[in-house]
């Protein structure tokens, strides 16, 4: 990469919070010799390496695959979910997106439904609870079926696939000014509702998942589409409209 010989010096402002009950505060760190080719998480690894050497508590943050597919990494970077790049998870964000001397503000996702474990790590079990409420197909699947056994229109297959790209990272909730989970829930409803295997239970599904979402204390959508703009997988709010239709359909027809 063009300027990979130039290392960067950064000022980091990181949310530190010892435990769920600790008050927490923003703490300043200076980090030198950061390579523009590092990923954002490698930059944090570098900071943690130093903190450990100094005998200090490293910064806790979530991550797993580091290749943009698992949805574990989170981080509000300079006020934007997953940072400044479009359709890019934090783990796929690179330091070349920043300049030497930049101040970078790093915070955890903030929502009532996502309590903070420690530092930048939040508890996203609320999403699991929503899935458990109805985000599945309850048939015994057995062996993988023949790919073309059930004909599905290409358009539906594509739309279902687009919705299924959701990795459940919760950037939608984090970026929404109302901390609404509607993009996530609507993607999970859509990926099933659009396919014959999932259509069968679609009457109950939207109702059950939305009820759980409401119960967990997520906010209400105001159709601003910050979720769509922040989604690392480019999931769009037409899914939310579909969920709204599915909800009414279920409300009127489910017995």
């Amino acid at each position: 990469m063009g300027n990979n010989t130039v290392s960067m010096n950064l000022n980091l402002k990181i949310w530190r919070q010892k435990s769920a009950t600790d008050k927490g505060e923003m703490v300043d760190y200076k980090l030198t010799d950061v390579s523009p080719d590092m990923s954002f998480l490698e930059m944090l690894d570098m900071l943690n390496d130093r903190l450990i050497r100094e005998g200090k508590d490293p910064v806790a943050f979530d991550h797993d695959c580091r290749e943009g597919i698992c949805g574990m990494c989170s981080l509000m970077i300079n006020g934007q979910a997953h940072g400044p790049e479009r359709e890019t998870t934090t783990c796929q964000l690179h330091m070349r997106s920043f300049k030497n001397g930049d101040t970078i503000v790093i915070e955890p996702w903030r929502a009532k439904a996502f309590p903070i474990h420690k530092d930048l790590m939040v508890d996203r079990s609320a999403f699991d609870e929503i899935i458990a409420a109805g985000g599945y197909v309850s048939v015994n699947t057995g062996h993988a079926p023949d790919a073309n056994a059930i004909p599905i229109p290409k358009e539906n297959a594509d739309l279902a696939m687009d919705a299924a790209a959701c990795i459940g990272c919760a950037a939608c909730v984090a970026s929404c000014k109302n901390a609404s989970a509607m993009l996530f829930v609507s993607a999970k409803i859509s990926q099933l509702a659009l396919l014959p295997q999932g259509e069968a239970e679609s009457k109950q599904r939207a109702e059950a998942m939305v009820a759980k979402m409401d119960e967990l204390g997520f906010g209400n959508c105001t159709n601003e589409a910050e979720c769509e703009a922040s989604c690392p997988k480019g999931i769009d709010i037409s899914n939310i409209a579909r969920m709204n239709r599915e909800f009414i359909k279920g409300g009127l027809t489910n017995r």
């Binding site: 509000m76 901390a179 939305v210 979402m213 906010g219 105001t222 939310i240 579909r242």
Partner: protein, 225 residues
């Protein structure tokens, strides 16, 4: 069963849809109200007769009650949803920046433009409905000279200015609101969504220009008083 009904009716989605339906019906009111107001330009008598026809019809109480219910429903729901949304993020971000690809000025100021509209509405009712009472006779029928009340009010440039400012706020509210209402009701499709978004803005402009033109007209016919 009844708990299922309350859960559905009390759900985030139905609350949003109540917002949407009351909002769209209020848009219907805006159009009819504007059409009636244009009689001011046609003639004083026509305007007064129109107002008289409305207020002397006993059905006006039903219509007014319906309209009040729409406003109260819309405002009540707006307050409820906005409070819930605040509660959903008890601890705010140290830094929060819009992406520039999602929210707009209009979308992020809905509670404020709504509030301005509400304040306007109260002042509007005080000035006109419960404003100075003049009488006139048209075709032998004695009736309220609402035309005079209106025209006198708009002799003051400050009143004209406040009216226009309020209309601009309402227009901003609608430029996001109309499209948003359709989205809440489940209308979103690549074949018409871009048109709907445009139409939402066009409708807002129509309302702002339409409503603002009348105070300006009233002010001008009095030679700038």
């Amino acid at each position: 069963m009844s708990s299922r009904l309350t859960r559905i009716v009390g759900s985030s989605i139905v609350k949003k849809q109540a917002m949407a339906i009351t909002g769209l019906l209020l848009c219907g009111f805006l159009v009819t109200h504007l059409a009636g107001n244009f009689l001011i330009i046609y003639s004083a008598d026509a305007f007064n007769q129109y107002a008289y026809a409305l207020t002397s019809n006993p059905l006006i109480y039903v219509a007014e009650a319906g309209l009040a219910a729409l406003f109260l429903g819309h405002i009540g729901m707006a307050i409820k949803l906005t409070l819930e949304n605040h509660k959903a993020r008890p601890q705010k971000y140290y830094m929060k920046k819009p992406t520039g690809r999602g929210s707009t000025f209009a979308s992020s100021t809905m509670p404020y433009t709504g509030m301005i509209t509400l304040i306007f509405l109260v002042i509007h009712l005080i000035n006109f409905k419960f404003g100075p009472l003049y009488m006139t006779t048209v075709d032998g029928v004695e009736m309220r000279d609402l035309y005079r009340t209106v025209v006198e009010y708009f002799a003051s440039p400050l009143n004209v200015l406040w009216y226009i400012i309020a209309m601009v706020a309402l227009g901003i509210h609608l430029s996001h609101g109309v499209w948003s209402a359709f989205q809440s009701l489940g209308f979103n499709h690549p074949s018409y969504t871009p048109t709907l978004r445009m139409a939402s803005k066009a409708f807002a402009v129509l309302i702002v220009v339409g409503y603002s033109s009348l105070p300006i007209y009233c002010y001008l016919i009095q030679g700038g008083h």
